[in-house]
């Protein structure tokens, strides 16, 4: 098949935004419909990916490779089971967020949709890139539209929030850039050719001492993105100030770039260093679970409550990632999708309330259920999905994560289980204060229940929540082989360094690069032996 389907999906949103040149900015609805149309087409195309994708192999599929700038800088994309699902999540959420901002965005509608479409291309690019240079380009490029989305259409402290978000993220990414170039030069000195190719790097078995620095640089960039405790403080600010659609994308997909980064780069490229740091990282993840939940408990602003709940949920995902076994990784990827759906949906629900009341403070609400029964039901289901009620998607991910963690460390899993208590506590309490109780605020009595558009964008999410809760197999099967392969990659060097350490002398300091070539040969050998 010669149709570059993956490129089409990745660049269709950005290319589509060019269409807006020909649309008069006053034709707001035409702009919205065009964006929506592009989003739906893109989702349908990515469904095609899903059905064509073979779960039998962990190798990347739909690969496209072309020279770009030389010196190893290639246009090289492809997806495995993990990125497939994240691409699907992104394209699924895209039409939804466009629908969700139909009424709330009235100013600079054209620019808004251009940025939104560019953002989606940036995110998709991150998930499909197999060349580290290309990956970094997308990783940074995606910041620009997000910067404007928060900075222009955000709330009162939008400039503060958006600068904080961008600079915090950039700080991490720049270190990663240095590390990418270090890898590049190590590879050149070892193999004698230029390459940014991820799979070339996978073959490189690095001296553990070098790994540590590179892992820290990559890890920091991803940890900020996730965000892991204690790098989380940009998140509540960004969420609170971002427009609803921005929050949905931020929580739904952007955060997953961090976890994805760990899975795709930081762990398989530097497995020995990773294993050294895993106890500390796991501890931070666990702190994140409990700390995020406790902070969520006492938030007065609904949006920052959901933001802190993200810190807690992402903590569980990271803990599962660091458990490094099949169940935990599949659980983590599944939970990434779940978190994207449920937290995205919670932000949509908060957005629906905000559009009516123009306040995000919990105390301004109360008794909304009576006025908006349909909304109450939808909000409830989204909340339950987040709480991990069986029958809905959240349970499958949560139980797999916890089980995987349990296999690696009983103690961590037992402490991590507190998430099911705390998660219920902060969400139910919020729901009670917002939706239940007597209807005292006169303003709420004027609220209208969901309109057709709002039902339209919530229903697909709700259906998917049930579907993924009852039939998780189609999704799990797509990633089975990929997760296996990833685990082999991460556990590869262990056999070498542990079993044959005495056989090879690794110079401690500066000449690590030379030893790399030896290690590399041996590394590949041992891989072949397996």
């Amino acid at each position: 098949m010669n149709i570059p389907i993956l490129s089409i999906i990745t660049f269709l949103p950005a290319a589509g935004s060019l269409l807006f040149i020909f649309i008069n900015r006053k034709q707001k609805n035409l702009i919205r419909y065009t964006a929506l149309f592009i989003g739906i087409i893109n989702f349908i195309l990515s469904l095609f990916l899903f059905f064509q994708f073979s779960g039998q192999t962990g190798d990347p599929q739909f690969v496209e490779k072309a020279e770009w700038m030389g010196y190893g800088i290639q246009y090289h994309i492809g997806i495995d089971g993990i990125s497939l699902l994240l691409v699907l999540l992104t394209t699924f959420l895209m039409p939804i967020v466009i629908l969700s901002s139909w009424n709330s965005i009235q100013e600079k509608v054209k620019e808004y949709h251009i940025f939104m479409l560019l953002l989606v291309t940036g995110i998709l690019g991150v998930f499909v890139s197999l060349n580290l240079f290309l990956f970094y380009v997308f990783w940074e490029a995606m910041l620009i539209p997000m910067y404007f989305l928060i900075g222009i259409w955000g709330g009162k402290r939008k400039i503060y929030a958006t600068l904080k978000f961008v600079i915090f993220t950039m700080f991490g990414s720049l270190l990663m850039l240095v590390a990418i170039f270090a890898l590049y030069s190590i590879f050149y000195k070892t193999a004698g050719s230029y390459s940014f190719n991820l799979f070339d790097y996978y073959q490189l078995v690095l001296n553990p001492n070098i790994q540590i620095w590179l892992f820290l640089a990559f890890g920091l960039a991803f940890a900020i993105k996730v965000p892991m405790f204690p790098f989380h403080t940009w998140l509540p600010d960004a969420h609170v100030e971002a427009p609803t659609a921005g929050s949905v994308i931020l929580a739904g997909v952007l955060l997953k770039m961090g976890t994805y980064g760990f899975l795709r780069f930081a762990l398989p490229l530097f497995p020995d260093a990773a294993k050294k740091f895993i106890p500390y990282l796991a501890a931070l993840s666990l702190i994140g679970i409990i700390y995020g939940a406790l902070m969520a408990l006492i938030q007065k602003d609904v949006k920052s409550l959901v933001a802190y709940s993200s810190v807690s949920h992402m903590g569980l995902i990271m803990l599962a990632v660091f458990a490094l076994n099949l169940e935990s990784l599949e659980g983590a990827v599944y939970q990434m999708l779940n978190h994207g759906l449920s937290t995205g949906a919670l932000f949509l629900c908060v957005g629906i309330l905000y559009e009516r009341a123009h306040t995000r403070l919990i105390k301004d609400y109360g008794g909304v259920s009576r006025q908006m029964p349909v909304f109450a039901a939808f909000f409830l289901i989204c909340m339950l999905s987040s709480v991990g009620l069986p029958g809905l998607n959240g349970f499958v991910g949560e139980v797999l994560c916890l089980f995987g963690i349990f296999q690696s460390s009983k103690l961590l899993a037992i402490l991590g289980v507190s998430t099911i208590i705390l998660g219920a506590a902060y969400l139910l309490w919020m729901y009670q204060r917002v939706m239940q109780g007597p209807l005292e605020n006169k303003k709420i009595m004027t609220f209208k229940d969901l309109n057709k558009r709002e039902i339209g964008f919530l229903v697909p999410i709700i259906i998917l929540m049930f579907f993924m809760g009852i039939f998780p197999r189609p999704f799990l099967r797509k990633m089975d082989a990929s997760v296996h392969k990833l685990l082999n990659q991460i556990h590869r060097s262990e056999t070498y360094f542990v079993d044959k350490e005495t056989a090879i002398i690794i110079p401690e300091s500066a000449s690590g690069i030379e030893s790399d070539s030896q290690i590399k040969e041996k590394g590949i050998e041992s891989e072949n032996n397996e």
Binding site: F168, M295, L297, Q299, L326, G391, A425, Q436, P438
Partner: protein, 633 residues
């Protein structure tokens, strides 16, 4: 036998789906017809499957119907599969039969409610979840039902969510249950890791075969029991159940008396092999049950809210069921679960009928003398009270006696004594309730009196049916003193029970124990008669004499307050403190200070860039001099 039993849970599920989507647009008559009909069809299939079960030999238990693989990842596999065996048969029959009657009763009770369709949607959803719980062939699917019923309970307790108390009670129930669920989930993970399967058949086989170390068996048994104390409202997680009475009365009858709260007992019986293999775990189950049985009964003594008396009574009665399971008499525990389902739902529905008659009045101090106004409710209520009090020839007598005899036979005399003292208290508080409500002086508010009426037949007919079963249900499990094979119930369940230490008493001792039970029950009733009919001053005098004790009971031992002070407030205050001082100040402060610092640095350094040639020349000159100096020296 045919395997259509998998339809038992699916029919209420289908009904739930229809009601959830179209409920608001359907006429009330149709809603109630569909909701009740779905449960009735499930009941018929249960009955059919039960008969099928009688025709196959015990070696073929359980009959399993696997629908599809639900979750599969590495070592973790859970199927959507149902099983049918004697224990499941008993549970499905109880759930669908009692459930059906309560659904019918609700047609009358909820007739005026504006959220009629929401009510029946949730009731159907509850029935579905409960059936999943009791029919699941693996422990993960059981957990699905387990959490599902917890969710329905949350929704139905908070059904009238405009009331703060109702919304609070719902939330409390869910969170307290989740604490138990956390323990349960950890137990499940231990099981999967050590046994490698989630199916009950494999778990039982592995544990019975001794492939787990004794310590691990005890640990798992206790973790699972943590879940049971949450769902079945035992010490220390019972606190949610009294508050759960905020829900509509049919809900209290169905969920918080007959079915959901007994899920913990079902679970322990289903995994009985753990509790027979580990004597320590069995003993703890029995002990917690016995202490809860007495403790909850004491709190029922001073309550004036008719439903709260029944709530504490439920906690206490479930304690008895756990005594049975803990001493290895699982069949007796399940037998009490089964009889209790009838008489306790009867008591709740009858109490609901009283409330209905008195325009929602719950306070027994504002009742009295209702006997003559309620010709159907009174006798049925009385039958329920006699049954629970343990008076001979009614169902509660047989089941409670089976448990106490088993405890005695196993040499657990302390537990037997606790159970017996609980029995006195039970007889006493139940008849206190009867006398205060139906006998004596009328203390009805004038406003309520105007509307005083007996409930419609859609409510009284279910009462009568339940009353009938409260009388006869016990005859399925007659005591051994009457003959070798008269305990049909025990024989029916015995193939599922792991053979443990079975102790037998001689006939004289058994007759003696039965005699003691009878004396205790009648004694309790007699004291209640003395206190509340003969000489109503006695309770006041006792309360005045022992003010401390009285206050302690009225305030339910201050446990709610203690939990609030020890867990809830510190969590909120502590988080508030950490948020203000640490999250905003330290972490975010560091972020902002870094930003501010680099801003300051940039600004300060920018002074160097004055743009004046003479400044640059000066710096250049100074630099040259320093360099020269370095070179020379």
């Amino acid at each position: 036998m045919s395997d259509i039993f998998w339809l038992i849970p699916l029919i209420p599920a289908l009904s739930t789906l229809i009601l959830a989507v179209f409920g608001d647009r359907l006429p009330k008559k149709y809603i109630s017809f569909q909701a009740c009909g779905a449960v009735f069809v499930s009941f018929l299939i249960s009955l059919y499957s039960f008969i099928g079960l009688l025709n196959i030999s015990p070696e073929q238990y359980p009959v399993v119907k696997n629908l599809f693989t639900w979750i599969h990842s590495g070592n973790f596999q859970a199927n959507l599969s149902f099983q049918f065996d004697p224990l499941t048969a008993v549970m499905t029959l109880v759930v669908t039969a009692v459930g059906f009657l309560i659904h019918v009763y609700s047609i009358g009770y909820m007739a005026e409610d504006r959220s009629y369709s929401r009510f029946f949607t949730l009731m159907n959803l509850f029935t579905f979840s409960m059936l999943i719980l009791v029919m699941a062939s693996n422990i993960v699917l059981m957990f699905v039902g387990w959490e599902g019923v917890g969710f329905c309970s949350y929704m139905l307790i908070g059904f009238w969510f405009e009331k703060h108390s109702a919304a609070n009670a719902g939330k409390k129930a869910f969170i307290v249950n989740r604490i138990g669920d956390a323990g349960f989930l950890i137990g499940i993970m231990f099981i999967i890791v050590s046994i490698g399967s989630t199916e009950f058949a494999n778990i039982n086989h592995a544990v019975a075969g001794g492939s787990l170390s004794p310590g691990l068996v005890t640990l798992i048994a206790l973790l699972l029991f943590v879940g049971a104390t949450g769902k079945s409202a035992q010490i220390p997680l019972y606190v949610w159940l009294p508050d759960a009475m905020e829900g509509p009365t049919p809900v209290s009858a169905l969920i918080h008396a007959a079915t959901m709260v007994t899920a913990g007992v079902y679970m322990v019986a289903r995994l009985n092999v753990f509790y027979t293999m580990s004597e320590a775990a069995g003993f703890i189950v029995a002990l917690i049950g016995a202490i809860t049985a007495v403790y909850a009964a004491t709190m029922a003594l001073t309550q004036n809210d008719i439903k709260r008396v029944l709530a504490y009574s439920t906690i206490s009665q479930i304690g008895y069921m756990f005594i049975g399971c803990g001493v290895g008499a699982f069949a007796a525990g399940i037998f009490h679960l089964y009889t209790h389902a009838f008489f306790k739902s009867l008591l709740f529905l009858a109490a609901g009928s009283v409330m209905h008659a008195l325009s929602g009045e719950l306070d027994m101090r504002k009742m009295g003398g209702l006997k003559k106004y309620m010709p159907y409710t009174y006798p049925t209520f009385l039958i329920g009270a006699i049954a629970i009090a343990g008076v001979p020839f009614l169902s509660g007598f047989f089941s409670k006696d089976a448990i106490l005899t088993a405890a005695f036979a196993n040499g657990q005399y302390v537990i037997w004594a606790l159970g017996l003292s609980g029995a006195v208290l039970t007889a006493f508080y139940m008849f206190r309730l009867i006398f205060l409500t139906f006998h004596g002086k009328e203390r009805i508010q004038p406003e309520a009196k105007k509307h005083l009426h007996e409930s419609p037949s859609v409510m009284t007919v279910p009462l009568s049916i339940l009353a009938f079963f409260s009388v006869v249900a016990g005859y399925a499990g007659l005591p051994v003193v009457l003959g070798k094979n008269v305990n049909w119930f025990q024989n029916f369940l015995s193939p599922l029970m792991h053979p443990g230490h079975e102790a037998h008493l001689n006939l004289t001792t058994e007759w003696l124990l039965i005699g003691v039970s009878i004396v205790v029950a009648l004694g309790g009733i007699w004291i209640a008669y003395l206190f509340y009919l003969r000489n109503p001053q006695i309770p006041h005098r006792i309360a005045a004499r022992f003010p401390f004790l009285y206050k302690l009971l009225v305030h339910k031992y201050y446990v709610d307050e203690a939990y609030d002070t020890v867990f809830v407030k510190p969590a909120i205050k502590g988080s508030e403190f950490v948020y203000q001082k640490f999250d905003l100040n330290v972490i975010d402060g560091a972020v902002n200070k870094t930003a501010a610092g680099s801003g300051w640095l940039g600004k300060t350094l920018s002074y160097l860039q004055t743009g004046l040639i003479k400044d640059y020349a000066l710096v250049f000159l100074l630099g040259t001099i320093i360099l020269l100096g370095l070179l020379i020296f």
